[in-house]
């Protein structure tokens, strides 16, 4: 893989995949830190009471804030440096499950996504 320029996000050449390496961890630090803070139930309450105010503490970019407010999981991980394990904590806080997140990233409805699974009762 060629070296990235400063600020550029890596492309490992795997379709539909945004490897969480230094290029994403650097720009996503504040975003992932916000998500990590939601492991505390008190912070989940605070977040839901005042989302904009809560976000303001983490030095996020406008793109990151907009993607959070739109629950745009793909942009958060592809372009904003979000790591799935951290972003999932944000998703859970705002009421989205992992499979709902995944369906959206695949560009499908939840029902469409479930139809692609071998045994959808195991969820």
């Amino acid at each position: 893989m060629r070296e990235t320029k400063p600020g550029e996000l890596s492309d490992w050449g795997i379709q539909g995949t945004y490897v969480f390496d230094h290029t994403r961890s650097r720009i996503g630090y504040g975003l992932n830190k916000l998500c990590y803070s939601l492991t505390d139930p008190k912070n989940r309450e605070r977040y839901m009471q005042d989302e904009a105010g809560y976000m303001a503490r983490f030095g996020l970019s406008d793109q990151q804030k907009a993607a959070i407010l739109q629950r745009d999981w793909l942009t958060l991980m592809k372009n904003c440096g979000g790591n799935v394990y951290y972003v999932y904590k944000l998703a859970a806080t705002v009421g989205s499950g992992l499979y709902q997140m995944g369906a959206q990233m695949r560009g499908q409805t939840y029902e469409q996504f479930l139809q692609t699974r071998n045994a959808k009762g195991a969820r």
Partner: protein, 280 residues
């Protein structure tokens, strides 16, 4: 002297947690998974009878944040609380540790040039809490003590598969040097094939998983030679967790007797289980 009495590989898919807690063991879409664990749990309890399990897993941003990311870490306490992963805690007792063995292994590993981060305060997430009750009893309390060993499989650069395999060999040496008579099992967790982000979310590769289980038993050196990219391309970006199974395998003899094997891929992850003992 302590000795290794069993090696296990297991997925740690988080959705198994609530299914276990609500006892959905006999539902048709869950049964193939839970049935696979039943016989292994019984085998561990009745035949192997381990005192301690060295539990190789990764934290998923539940207790360890990105402010510091240890490549390899070890817990050295007598008790570990659960981490809240964003939706509360499961109804399970605190995990029992074995601080004496943990500290001993930490020292031996570091003198063997594996520079572990030593953790006196850490909480454990689904990486540990999902397989643990599938394999050991917790009513009314755990019948097993745990030495948690953590591997960074979240933020690249990750340790190589080869490095994980060698870490296993070093853990074996440490255990065999421990002066007390202890029966120690070791488990590597994670995967199997899965991808949880991007348009490729939901990628499964049953053929890869099947071959992984075959080679883990018979030719683990080939798996240890794989790059992260090769694993991610074939089996999904998050399948790179499988390198943790190689820590377990490195702790076993080169030839093993495989006693159990199960595989099921209902939703987004290949759920594998393998158990083995040293070949005589």
């Amino acid at each position: 002297m302590a000795k290794i009495v069993a090696g296990l590989g297991s997925s740690h898919v988080p959705s198994i947690g609530p299914a276990y807690d609500t006892k959905r063991f006999d539902e048709p879409d869950w049964k193939p998974l839970f049935d696979g664990y039943k016989s292994v749990k019984q085998w561990l309890r009745e035949e192997i009878k381990p005192d301690v399990v060295v539990f190789v897993y990764n934290d998923h941003g539940s207790d360890f944040a990105l402010d510091r990311v240890p490549t390899f870490a070890i817990g050295v306490r007598d008790e570990y609380q659960q981490a809240d992963e964003g939706f509360g805690l499961r109804p399970l007792p605190a995990v029992k540790g074995h601080a004496d063995l943990s500290w001993f292994i930490a020292k031996e590993l570091i003198y063997d040039e594996f520079d572990m981060t030593i953790c006196q305060e850490m909480r454990v997430d689904h990486g540990l809490m999902v397989p643990l009750p599938l394999l050991f009893s917790h009513e009314p309390d755990w019948d097993i003590k745990v030495v948690p060993v953590l591997v960074n499989v979240v933020q690249h650069p990750l340790p190589t598969a080869q490095r994980c395999y060698r870490l296993g060999a070093s853990i074996r040496k440490a255990i065999e040097a421990y002066p007390e008579d202890l029966k120690v099992a070791i488990i590597g967790t994670g995967g199997m094939s899965h991808q949880l982000h991007g348009e490729r979310f939901g990628h499964l590769n049953t053929e890869f998983d099947t071959q992984w289980l075959d080679l883990l038993e018979r030719d683990p050196g080939r798996l240890a030679g794989m790059t992260h990219r090769e694993i991610m391309e074939a089996a999904g970006a998050e399948a790179v967790e499988l390198i943790m199974w190689l820590v377990m395998r490195g702790a076993m003899t080169s030839k093993v007797l495989r006693t159990h094997r199960n595989y099921y891929a209902p939703m987004t992850t290949g759920m594998g289980l393998i158990a083995m003992v040293d070949a005589a």
